[in-house]
Amino acid sequence: MAEKATEKTGMEGEMEVDAYRRLFPLPFYERHLLDSLRPDGRPLSRSRDTSLSLGAVSSADGSALVKFGDTTMLAAIKLEVMTPSKESPDEGCLGIEFHMPPICSPIVRPGKPAEIAPVISKQLEDAILSSGLINLKELSLISGKAAWMTYVDIYCLNADGSLFDAALFAAVAAFSHLQIPLVSLSEGGRVITVSGENLDNPAKELVNKDKRNLTLHSIPFSLTCVLHKNYILADPTAEEESIMETLLTVVLDSSSQLISLYKPGGSVLAFKTTVQDCISHTRKRVKELQKILSEALSDMEID
């Protein structure tokens, strides 16, 4: 295949690698795939270097900065006291929003929101709710009176592929870093948050003294793969995603339940074996991400 491509182009010998890569992206990639190697030196099933730092935004109640190679996501959680709805008086509320500002990618232009952003918001919401990561009852303060409205905002700072994976990991990490602020009841019976300076001698009794962290039940992690012919490329970059268009995202939780298997069309069909391969790649990736998350959490405790 690759040889055929070079015959067609004919001028490959004289052409610089960068120019060849831009003019004939698919033959360029196929040549690499023949050697089971990707242009950035990774084997097909290896994900990019992943880093996580917790508490990147000090004004938020929980935050995390995640990097998958060049893809950078900043997730921040803000809690506000709200009155719960009549239908579910002892549950809090969760609002997840994914933002793609123009700085993140050359294809996002100011004034024109990226088409993919609301779709990723919806997917994140689905993954977090159906994995049962958060028990909404834990967000309740006083049944029927007060509960936490949880705003989860994820900002894409640099979009270089696998956006959903990085966004989900950032959201999950922000949740595990979340410290619930202290609240007390005012004289009028309203719930107010206690700010830093009153913390040492609170005038009123605190409502949630012993409950500062959320219990995370089963944590979802995901891996996106690009399918091209028989090849499965894990954790694709933006370039790989645009050249080979078939994407398949698997979300597994920490107890290996399948939360989502998302394949929106594409020219390559996913057979049963392909699906099983992608799931086993995801299992490996879940272990990696779990390790990174627990290391970051234990580092934070030492500090």
């Binding site: 918001s121 399948l258 989502s260 298997l261 394949k263 069309g265 069909l269 049963k272 392909t274």
Partner: protein
């Protein structure tokens, strides 16, 4: 394990299908696809309307490419998903993207470069079957037909095909929506198209899931849905044949 369904169907039984094309006169192609028939299961539930899924799809195009996504080498497809009431939100955007990517993978996009084709879909999911019929009605060149099947996974872990809306609200722990290619009839001497020895209709074009399930349950859904897709694809083929040739005046 058996589960009683409110409308008395067996777990693998689909609702009756109906498809009519050329229902809108101004559109270049249109189709109405329904699953479920209010007359056949009158006893089960009071509100029979709830158990029908009816989708209307209209196709306009190919027309001159105006959208920002226009491509000088390929035709582009635009999907507009109209909710029954109110403004379109995040979930409509998600449906639009899934539908667009799925349709792109079955259309021959190189035939009409630099054009845009709009597919407008109104009402509930399962719209892939309807849009596919509408594209056929518009005479748009396609590689394959796509066949979509919905699967529900009940609490006990048994798989139920084609859940109706009333059932969806009741008791499922997870759903899967899968899209397959139709089983093809071929006049070519080498027979049916295969990808590495496997018939193409075994492969998934699109998969969307909601809710948690085990990996084995997913694979089980995949098998069942694949078996059901053969039935739907046969129905689609029959209904397309019976209505040909469509109104030639519309081509003008």
């Amino acid at each position: 394990m058996e589960v009683d369904r409110i409308d008395g169907r067996t777990p693998n039984q689909l609702r009756p299908l109906a498809c009519s094309r050329n229902v809108l006169h101004r559109a270049h192609g249109s189709a109405r696809w329904s699953q479920g028939d209010s007359t056949s299961y009158k006893t089960a539930i009071v509100n029979t309307k709830e158990r029908n899924t009816i989708i209307l799809a209209a196709v306009y195009g190919p027309k001159a490419g105006t959208r920002k996504g226009e491509n000088p080498e390929k035709a582009s497809i635009e999907v507009v998903w109209k909710p029954r009431t109110g403004q379109s939100g995040k979930s409509e955007k998600e449906c639009e993207l899934i539908l667009r990517r799925t349709l792109q993978s079955i259309c021959l996009l190189t035939v009409h470069p630099n054009t845009t084709t709009s597919v407008i879909v109104q009402l509930l999911p399962c719209a892939i079957n309807a849009s596919c019929a509408a594209l056929v009605d518009a005479g748009f060149p396609l590689k394959h037909l796509a066949v979509a099947v919905g699967c529900g996974l009940s609490e006990g872990g048994s798989v139920i095909l084609d859940p109706s809306k009333a059932e969806e609200e009741l008791k499922f722990q997870a759903y899967t929506h899968l899209v397959f290619l139709n089983s093809s009839l071929s006049v070519l001497p080498e027979g049916l198209p295969h990808v590495e020895g496997k018939p193409v209709e075994d492969g998934i074009i699109t998969s969307v899931t909601h809710g948690a399930m085990s990996v084995n349950d997913y694979l089980c859904c995949m098998e069942r849905a694949q078996a059901a897709s053969a039935k739907i694809s046969e129905f689609l083929r029959r209904s397309l044949q019976s209505q040909l040739p469509s109104d030639p005046a519309k081509a003008l």
